[in-house]
């Protein structure tokens, strides 16, 4: 088990999400940057769907109560183990009463902590991913104790890297959304030539961009939306839906982020700049 000494800004348990319940209006959820979460699980030899801790912008302080092996991936948050700096994307042995601390994100904004075998919080609707109104808690809090199966077996040196540009890159690879063809040529050009900045309205549900363009389209009859759907609101804003998004919406869906673009955007914070690049 591991005890939360400091909770950080927004920390939660996530796996690859709650698949198969969208028809009940249940969001997919799951690690925002699934590629980073997957990387830490892969390094530990875990099931890809093993639950990890996701930290956002400001990390946690944790005290381990049993031995295990961990791996940290995603944004660099100056992690230390008992006061000594430790590396990302590397297996690290943990003893009972070890203290693991994280600071603020240097590059990117979401960091993942995986533990051998995964964290064992309760599964609700086939997933451990936190979501208010589905799971008991929506964030991890000081004093919480999170279970895992203690183990120190088969420790071997193992090391891997994400594509080096995952944190620096600003190009979001996108597909045309279902309503893309309703846009005029000038509107399409604007989408692909503009540099967009992430607004302060960004969270696990959606990222709103600052730049606007007068919206000439009528609302659509409510239809499904997905993580990565770019909606164009009546006041001209672009809203990019993320992992905790609702399942249906009525705004035109003009673009659809690729899976890798969702992961990339998940590491962006307010004022970061992004561009769209068409895949089709």
């Amino acid at each position: 088990m591991v005890e939360v000494l400091k909770q950080g800004l927004q920390s939660s348990i996530q796996d690859l999400g709650r698949l198969g319940y969208g028809h009940l209006g249940v969001p997919a959820s799951g690690a925002m940057d699934a590629s980073s979460a997957l990387l830490s699980n892969t390094i530990l030899g875990n099931n890809p769907n093993a639950a990890v801790i996701e930290m956002t912008l400001i990390g946690m302080h944790l005290k381990f109560l049993a031995e295990t092996v961990i791996c940290i991936s995603g944004a660099e948050m100056s992690a230390t183990l008992n006061g000594k700096a430790i590396q990302l994307n590397k297996k690290i042995e943990i003893q009972a009463s070890d203290l693991l601390t994280f600071g603020s994100a240097k590059l990117g904004c979401r960091t993942y902590l995986a533990v051998l075998g995964g964290f064992k919080t309760d599964k609700v609707l086939s997933s451990r991913s936190f979501y208010h109104s589905i799971t008991l808690n929506s964030v991890l809090k000081k004093g919480d104790v999170i279970k895992y199966s203690p183990s120190s077996s088969h420790f071997t040196e193992d090391y891997a890297k994400l594509k080096p540009n995952h944190f620096e890159a600003s190009v979001l690879k996108v597909y045309r959304g279902p309503e893309f063809n309703m846009l005029h040529q000038q509107q399409q050009d604007w989408l692909f030539n503009q540099h967009f900045t992430v607004s302060k309205l960004n969270n696990r549900m959606a990222y709103q961009l600052n730049e606007t363009l007068e919206n000439s389209l009528s609302p659509i009859i409510t239809s499904a939306v997905l993580p990565g759907t770019v909606q164009w609101t009546p006041n001209g804003h672009l809203i990019i839906l993320m992992r905790d998004a609702q399942t249906t919406g009525g705004y035109p869906r003009i673009l659809q982020l690729s899976e890798s673009a969702i992961n990339l955007l998940s590491q962006k914070k307010v004022k970061d700049v992004v561009q769209f690049e068409g895949l089709d």
């Binding site: 698949l19 028809h23 009940l24 109104s133 597909y175 009859i221 239809s223 997905l226 249906t248 982020l257």
Partner: protein, 244 residues
Amino acid sequence: MGAFNLTYKAFGERSILVEWPQKIDEFIQKDVLNFKNEITKNKPKLIVEIINAYCSLTIKYISTIENINDEISYLKRRYSACSKSQNTDFKLWHIPVCYEREFAPDLTVFSKLKNITIEAIIERHTKPKYLVNFIGFLPGFLYLSGLESSLEIPRKSTPEMTVKKGSVGIGGMQTGIYPMNSPGGWYVIGNSPLNFFDVNQNEPCFAKPGDYLKFYSISKSTYQNLANKVKNSSYHLEFEMHHG
């Protein structure tokens, strides 16, 4: 044979969007549900979720769709095989609603804005059988159609920060029940003591697209009584089975 000319398009790398003529219409809605049931009956393993709305189906695959044209041809064949004589059993759910003042914060203002007496509002709201079109917006939020046109009202210009769980509201041409506390812009005219979304049940939502709901008015004391029964799991949902 499927009855409509449908369009099929890729929606990102993992989904296919199937669209009917874009209107809210009971005949279209039933055809959408018919096709959804047809796919669900014999669902390829790679399909993980099928989300229907009024006039669309979004079919989600477990990972990147390797060959979109093959998948679309497959879906087209399944639609052609849809027979009109499909099993169209549905349930009509009877939903208790308390329209008394403390459960209906907006009923008085609604009555003034629409110039309809509170009694007439309740009578018109409890009269129709509402079709469950789909579930979206929030876990367990049912999109219902069939609201009497005299009760239509534009949404509030400023949404409320918190609409209480169980609130029965009217917004635009729609009526619905908030399954949990949520921000919302509909006029709240009553409250139902039932759970519309419960993760502890095998079926977290009792109502399904294709079912119907009918509201009936209950007193405050009945509300409390039913709320207690719901709380200690001794409440039995009221429904009638209909064979289509």
